[in-house]
Symmetry: C2
Subunit: 141 residues, 2 copies
């Protein structure tokens, strides 16, 4: 009961919709999902669920630190499991495929820039947008 315990720790009640949402994130091939994605996935596997519940659960999971919310250029919010280990994103503008990366050099330079401006850095978001033409750009939007 892995997911059951994860939920318990957050103080949220352990309900079917919440278990299912967590489960989808943990078993999905695509790590970055919108509320709509999850809703369709659940309807597809015969769950009785309302879209409002998905939105609520996603926000609660974000507040509980289970998920991270991203704002890509699309306008819709995208969520992924909070792996605790920080990483940034590189997004293909053609097919929407997302890859993750971490670059220590960039991290260090950011802290340096923040210092230069008298800021204490709390977080950051870095998205590289490009063209993954060298790869199998066969993902559908």
């Amino acid at each position: 009961m892995e997911e059951h315990d994860e939920l318990k720790k957050t103080g949220l009640k352990v309900t079917l919709p919440r278990l299912k949402v967590l489960n989808i994130f943990e078993s999905s091939k695509e790590k970055h999902l919108t509320a709509e994605d999850i809703y369709k996935e659940m309807l597809g596997s015969g769950e009785e669920v309302g879209l409002a519940t998905i939105y609520r659960v996603l926000t609660q999971f974000e507040q509980a630190g289970l998920l991270i919310r991203h704002h890509f250029e699309s306008g819709k919010a995208v969520f992924e499991l909070n792996e605790k280990s920080h990483h940034d994103h590189i997004v293909c503008l053609q097919c929407g495929h997302v890859e993750e990366f971490v670059n220590e050099g960039i991290e260090k330079l950011q802290t340096q820039v923040a210092n230069e401006h008298g800021f204490t850095i709390i977080e950051h978001s870095l998205y590289i947008y490009g063209d993954c033409t060298k790869k199998d750009c066969e993902y559908k939007k």
Copy 2:
């Protein structure tokens, strides 16, 4: 007639709403403005304008390369004049104050990361979020 010529160059007709929008960006203390901000500003100075026009004009200006559109965490689109010279942003989470910066090291490393992933980089967005406590954090949200 500075702004007049700027508009001409884009091929767009030189109209009052468009001149006024440009003017607001060029004279505003705050460089980063939402459609709503501009709308209120114009109503405030007695202009007869519709919000739809603002949205249209902002999008046209973006396409013409006069403005850059940002997606901050707020969910609303934020625009700024396109100074042509690329820069990133550091945002204070307390007061919303935004500063700009460019760091060549970060730029280079991004290109490198893109290459490693087989991407051709088209653009990127980097926002550092923090606390500007050492400065006069007296801006109101």
